[in-house]
């Protein structure tokens, strides 16, 4: 089938600036397959239904738009106080000197290109595989592009209880860096891992994370997207969650010209659980898009989506979220909420929540709201002596609380909250009266 001309043109232009990395082993084969998927899809254009609320042109452009690095001042690095194994990427390139030694009890960690030279590797069953499954019913071309062209990444196999969290730290150094990273995580049955991600990564960042959560395993993912103002990012999180396993992912996004975070989660085994949450705060030229697709393929599974956005000075928030309940996925418990708090009339929130249910014994609820700050509550707090900005900060944190609750570790949750408090203190004054 021929591609629409615009998609094909976009693809040709983008690929002209990319070279397919050479891989001799299994990775080479995986890349060629991904490239074939991409060629059949083309790249998105504004008219695409799935890109109705977010303009993909800066993601499609052959070169990354210039993004001045942002100086976060004296704000400590995310997760600084957490005992973790650090793996550092600078503009999308692994930095061995800045990283810790990659040995960790209960975990095997390898670099993608090294592991990719082998003929046989566990990651063959994951790399590009979850991504490919996630291409229906909706195409996700940037993910296919990533599987084909990723220049670096990390492969993590968890066999027991990880001794400490693994932290992927993304440093943005060049104003024109265009990074493509692909990570795979496989949790064997009954194993346990906390994965942290932080930092702005690059001027433009395309990242795929594929996670296979084995039966009874627990995966906890907490991400803090760097608060560079001008960066752009398209990220995909693909996960398949096995019987009785637990998957939890939380993302904090502050600033960024464009962020599109897609999550495609399949509850594949009975009694699996997936919780996805996001807290995004944006001021001015900020566009944040959460696009989520949760599929219940097995009975007795629970899924929860909690996405909250605080928008000011013309910032835009987008939520596209779907729960699909396949035939036979009885006793499904699905919950989805997307809310935005608009601190002024220039900001906007666009939401498209969807349910598609093919089983009869299910409990699914979804809701989407957008509203202004509660002036009565604000006055009440002020009348007790809280300056307006402090009062507003308290109300904003209260609004975000349901999302932050999805971070189980209290020390990490505190880190998230203090980051938000800092951001609010810097920006709330600008929200005006």
């Amino acid at each position: 089938m021929a591609l629409p001309q615009a998609k094909d043109d976009a693809l040709t232009a983008r690929l002209s600036a990319l070279a397919l990395p050479e891989s001799a082993g299994w990775l080479g084969a995986a890349r060629s397959e991904a490239r074939a998927r991409l060629l059949a899809m083309g790249l998105p254009v504004r008219r695409d239904e799935y890109w109705r609320y977010t303009d993909p042109s800066s993601l499609v452009a052959p070169a990354a738009p210039v993004a001045v690095r942002f100086n976060p001042g004296d704000e400590p690095e995310a997760f600084d106080a957490i005992d973790r194994l650090k793996i550092v990427f600078v503009d999308g390139v692994f930095d061995a000197d800045a990283s810790d030694d990659l040995t960790l009890s209960g975990v095997e960690i390898e670099r993608l290109d090294r592991a990719g030279q082998a003929d046989i590797h566990w990651a063959q069953g994951t790399y590009g595989v979850l991504e490919a499954r996630g291409q229906t019913p909706v195409a996700r071309p940037f993910a296919a592009l990533n599987s084909a062209y990723a220049t670096d990444g990390i492969l993590i196999r968890v066999t027991g209880r990880a001794a400490r969290p693994v932290a992927l730290v993304y440093v943005h150094s060049s104003e024109t860096s265009d990074a493509i990273l692909h990570h795979c995580v496989k949790l064997e049955a009954g194993s346990n891992l906390t994965l942290l991600e932080s930092g702005p990564a690059a001027a433009r960042f395309n990242k795929v994370l594929e996670v296979e959560v084995g039966d009874g395993a627990e995966f906890h993912h907490i991400r803090v997207q760097g608060r560079d103002h001008e960066r752009r990012a398209a990220t995909h999180l693909f996960a398949r969650v096995g019987a009785g396993a637990s998957f939890r992912s939380f993302t904090l996004t502050a600033n960024g010209r464009l962020t599109r975070n897609e999550a495609v989660i399949e509850l594949a085994g009975p009694a699996a659980r997936a919780h996805l949450a996001g807290a995004a705060v944006g001021d001015g030229d900020f566009h944040h898009d959460d696009t989520v697709f949760v599929t219940h393929s097995a009975p007795n599974c629970e899924s929860r989506q909690v996405f909250k956005k605080v928008l000011m000075n013309g910032a835009t928030g987008v939520f596209q979220g779907k729960i699909l309940v396949r035939p036979g996925a009885q006793k499904t418990d699905g919950y989805q909420i997307s809310q935005s708090l608009l601190l002024d009339e220039d900001s906007q929130f666009l939401a498209k929540p969807e349910l598609e249910i093919y089983a009869d014994d299910v409990k699914c609820s979804h809701g989407s709201t957008s509203g202004a700050i509660d002036e009565t509550a604000l006055f009440y707090l002020q009348s007790r002596g809280l300056p307006r900005t402090v009062a507003q900060g308290l109300l904003v944190l209260a609004f975000l609380a349901e999302a932050i609750e999805e971070v189980a570790d209290e020390a990490i949750a505190d880190d998230i909250r203090s980051r938000l408090e800092g951001w609010l203190a810097r920006h709330a004054a600008k929200a005006g009266k």
Partner: protein, 251 residues
Amino acid sequence: MLEIKNLHVKLEEEDKVILRGVDLSIGAGEVHAIMGPNGSGKSTLSYVLAGRDGYTVTDGSASLEGAELLEMEPEERAAAGLFLAFQYPVEIPGVGNMTFLRTAVNAQRKARGEAELTAGDFLKVVREKARALKIDAEMLKRPVNVGFSGGEKKRNEILQMAMLEPRMCILDETDSGLDVDAMKLVADGVNALRGAGRSFLVITHYQRLLDHIKPDVVHIMAAGRIIRSGGPELALEVEMNGYADILGEVG
């Protein structure tokens, strides 16, 4: 302490006049009560003094210990020593009562150039004052006023007042919704704060509260004006005869 002169107030959004020339002068250490029919403007007066949005002052002035109140932000009025116990205390989901109290106490201390209370000192004081008002520890942990009964909300207002130690306390129908014992608790709480030059303006519909909190002066407000002032006996007169006679005399 509080000087209100010829205060005229209308709604910001519509041309509805609510206060039509209120004059009120409360000296340091005095307790004044305001009574008056529903809708006469009592709460509006308290909101305007506390700095709520939505009202336009078209004439007159209000000052607290010589400082012009109407120019200030609500938090500045609080730091200057004004406190309003709301007729309808506001529920704030997600904000813990303790966090709120501590932030408020320290914000005011900071505004006045005083050192902030340490977490330990704060806890000690709050526990003691809560106990006196029969507010249990579990209530302190809950979000501000969420799930509180009507009476619990009113007691929580008095707890805030006790923690903030304001100079000028306005109580807007703090007695309504309270059972007899709770009314006694609240009155004890108020009386404990009396003295040291602290003044009170008590808005109420019932003489009963004034048995516990003895006012120096009682005012009757009707249609946005104070139409009569007198001693505690004025409250008894209202209790027995309603407002018809007083309104008739003036009207």
